[in-house]
Symmetry: C2
Subunit: 262 residues, 2 copies
């Protein structure tokens, strides 16, 4: 599975670092692994569903942990959503995390004709959900754009409902299907590949999420590895629908194998 590779797509949380506490801790060997990928001449793009911060802040956090990473190397849902909004002249009502709002600074938000929902965390109040719902139900043909479809995630103070759960609530109430931006959407992986200029057949996705990373990338024609770090659980290896091209213990091991084949 490691042959004829020209580019790598890396998930971030759970592959580069474990989140929690005051930001997170690098996973052993990952800082060095990113450096080795870059030194090898392989193309590299980071592909994240992170929507609790702007890419600027997110990259700064990773640089602070020692990672060689820049904003241009990060494919994230909010900028992808902004491209869609511009292309289709959509003016969003935003139900997102406060820290994400600057990503939409250049977007016209007056008199909204769609709703964009992200992992709004504490902004998922009864009042805010009703407000987003009213904007949607008031449209002749409701347009709901969701920054991911995650079910839940873990923080230091426990499990939290992710954006996908709130997306489902609005979908049901308005009898509409959300357009998902972010993994596992095909268009999202394709835009990351386009950034690298590498066709799917020559790219490998490395992630910890069996459905959103591995399944999504494979549906685009890429190979995909699951790391046994982050949200990986042993029962993932019996997943009824998705089978990675290989399992690796962590990013460092994946990079070892791939670089040997070059």
């Amino acid at each position: 599975w490691a042959r004829a590779v020209r580019g790598l797509l890396l998930d971030v949380s759970g592959v580069l670092y474990d989140s929690g506490g005051d930001g997170g801790v690098p996973i052993a060997g990952s800082v060095e692994a990113v450096r080795r990928i870059k030194a090898s001449g392989l193309k590299l793009q980071f592909c994240t569903n992170e929507t609790q911060a702007t890419r600027e802040k997110f990259v700064k956090k990773l640089q602070g942990m020692g990672f060689d990473i820049s904003v241009a190397e990060v494919t994230a849902p909010a900028p992808a959503a902004c491209r869609i909004l511009k292309e289709r002249s959509l003016r969003p009502h935003l139900l997102v995390h406060n820290a994400l709002i600057p990503e939409f600074a250049e977007i016209d938000k007056a008199n909204p004709n769609c709703v964009v929902i992200g992992d709004a965390a504490e902004n998922f109040t009864y009042a805010n959900l009703n407000e987003a719902f009213r904007v949607l139900i008031g449209m002749e043909k409701p347009v709901l754009i969701s920054l991911g479809r995650g079910r839940y995630y873990k923080e230091t103070d426990g499990l939290k409902l992710d954006v996908g759960a709130y997306m489902k609530a609005l979908e049901y109430a308005c009898d509409v299907q959300a357009e998902v931006v972010g993994k596992p959407a095909k268009m999202f992986f394709e835009s990351a590949l386009a950034e690298m200029g590498v066709p799917p057949q020559q790219a490998i996705m490395i992630g910890d999420d069996i459905v959103n990373d591995v399944g999504g990338a494979q549906r685009c024609g890429m190979r995909a590895l699951q790391v046994r770090t982050g949200k990986y659980r042993p029962c993932d290896e019996n997943h009824p629908h998705v089978k990675p091209d290989a399992y690796v213990n962590n990013l460092a091991e994946a990079v070892d194998i791939i670089l040997q084949q070059l």
Copy 2:
């Protein structure tokens, strides 16, 4: 459609009265219509999805508007849920309206092994939703009981998401299917019929909700009328799946026609 009737099931909100403001206003002719049903000797049961108040409070409000109604005549989701909880030795974590909590006074709630969700309104906070989610996801086989599956409803200050939307959020996050108590669940209509001692072939449901009242009752073998009051909208008459046995302008008109046939 009005022949060989022995019992009537009446929806309450939108059929007897319109909610809003400080409680609601009787729909013209409805107080008298209830009186005429009782005088005719027909069996009568009220069948509501109301979960923002105990039956006691709900009945008191209706009596205050002039309706001849008693607690025993009301089939509502919370008491139905209590029967299920007792039968199956389930101890609920409650995510419901504060005013509904007394309905569960006699139910053991220690060390919960299921979640009961109702229209919790202001109690649908981010923290409370995460808490209900954690209780569910922590179970080997999550049990979610939902007091209705409504999408939304109208109050004087605007449209509000109903319990069904939050039910869908938890269903998706926990990959579980909720057990719905209340209309349109078959068992709920059947328990209302049992209260009257009338078989479905001899009963008519009268409601304003094309799916939950009309569709639900018809699936139980009952006839069902839609009134053109309450949440009725002209587009209901083109519903792709549900066709009432008849439309009537309001409850009074339905009772006129039914009593003529006796």
